[in-house]
């Protein structure tokens, strides 16, 4: 059965051989993407995940947006709005925002780093398979790029009331969006499972 895959969207079985680097296999019947082969997948993902973690630290440690009214400057962090919502009794929304913009990106980055380091050093760390499965499950819930659109809308909305000064954190946040997207798209899922399989066969 080697090389045989069933399309995850229409269940059609088809043979996908070893793809050349940088190419994509799509389903002949419904057009779904079956496999994307990335060049230097593991090394690239490692680089993106590491830089992502640094950017994540910067994003959460420094001021995000500041509001200037007259001589008065008020600084906010990424977490400020979430805490304010929680204080005013909107804990459900506070949690949803925390989950989609802080927790999921963090778990994605650490999870990807764990998996990639494991493959890089050729040994399976504890719970490897579970961690890798959960990364895929979490993916739809990371919504930082939507938050970015929210920032733009808010800035326009408040532009008449006060002056908005972007902080260091907001630039780190923009970079983080790009880096996380790059880390996810450079990680070759099939390659990781193949390596996992090889290792398990060798050490059975």
């Amino acid at each position: 059965m080697s090389g045989l895959i069933a399309c995850h969207e229409c269940d059609l079985m088809q043979r996908v051989g070893t793809l050349p680097e940088g190419s994509t296999a799509t389903c002949v019947r419904c057009g779904a993407i079956l496999h994307k082969r990335k060049p230097n997948s593991i090394e690239r993902t490692l680089a993106f995940a590491l830089s992502g973690l640094i950017l994540f630290g910067v994003t959460n440690a420094f001021p995000f947006l500041s509001l200037k009214i007259g001589a008065q400057v008020q600084e906010t962090k990424l977490i400020t709005g979430i805490l304010e919502l929680h204080k005013s009794g909107m804990s459900e929304i506070a949690f949803l925002v925390f989950f989609t913009t802080i927790l999921v990106p963090f778990l994605q980055l650490t999870g990807i780093l764990y998996v990639v380091l494991s493959v890089r050093f050729g040994r399976l760390y504890p719970k490897f398979r579970r961690v890798f499965r959960y990364i895929n499950l979490l993916q739809p819930w990371g919504m930082m790029e939507v938050f970015m659109l929210g920032i733009l809308v808010s800035i326009v909305k408040l532009a008449k009331m006060a002056k908005i000064i972007p902080g260091i954190s907001i630039f780190a946040f923009f970079a983080l969006i790009v880096v996380i997207a790059a880390a996810i798209s450079s990680l070759d899922m099939h390659l990781v499972w193949e390596k996992c399989d090889q290792y398990r066969k060798k050490h059975r």
Partner: protein, 222 residues
């Protein structure tokens, strides 16, 4: 010279009595793995199902819930601003209308599309897909699969209004020139986004294609 179209046998994993793991996409032979319930993928350890479990029922339930949440989400205020002792509540639509009046129609368009149009379109498309699956329709399967793909990808952008509220709450309250708080509409709105996302995840596009196989008489539905 055009390449001669190859005749490939059209056979699905289900017809071959194989199960494709939904998590790692490994083709598994259920007979080699033992009993029929509690099958686990030998490679990644995920539970194996030929199709998503109770896909139609779950998706219907989530869609109906989302339709119900959609009404208060649009009627109840999403923010309340108190400025100089004057309170003003805004629903999603009144926010959009405010932006149109102040001449910021690109922002009005962004909010309208993300918060009103996309969730509604998503509900309509998923309802349509569910009905066509239940009628065993084989009409334009490829386009319907594409429709599903778009629905799945676009839903997240509806969260933008929730984020705007979060950012405004952070900035305005600290500025002490006004206070702003999230209204009950925001909770229903968040519920719409979350339930439609789960609905899109629980729908199985392979069910659409199953109608084609049953039409060809190659598979007997149990």
């Amino acid at each position: 010279m055009r390449p001669v179209p190859q005749k490939t046998p059209i056979i699905t994993a289900r017809q071959a009595s194989l199960i494709s793991c939904h998590s790692c996409h490994l083709l598994c032979k259920p007979t080699a793995l033992g009993s029929n319930h509690g099958l686990v993928c030998p490679r990644c350890g995920a539970k194996l199902h030929s199709r998503k479990v109770n896909s139609l029922k779950r998706t219907w339930a989530l869609i109906l819930a989302a339709f119900i949440f959609y009404i208060p989400a649009n009627l109840l205020p999403i923010t309340t601003v108190i400025s100089l002792g004057k309170a003003q509540s805004d629903t999603i639509m009144s926010g959009v209308i405010y932006f149109i009046h102040t001449g910021m129609w690109p922002i009005a368009l962004v909010i309208f599309v993300a918060s009103v149009f996309v969730p509604f379109l998503k509900l309509i498309i998923l309802t349509y897909l569910l009905i066509t699956v239940q009628r065993r329709s084989t009409w334009r399967l490829k386009d319907r699969t594409r429709l599903y793909r778009i629905t799945e990808a676009v839903g997240r952008w509806s969260m933008v209004d929730i984020y705007v509220v979060t950012i405004l709450v952070a900035l305005v309250n600290l500025g002490a020139l006004a206070t702003i708080s999230a209204g009950p509409g925001a909770i229903f709105f968040a519920a719409v986004v979350v339930t439609t996302m789960f609905a899109a995840m629980s729908f199985d596009p392979r069910l659409m294609w199953d109608a084609k196989e049953s039409l060809n008489g190659r598979i007997q539905h149990t």
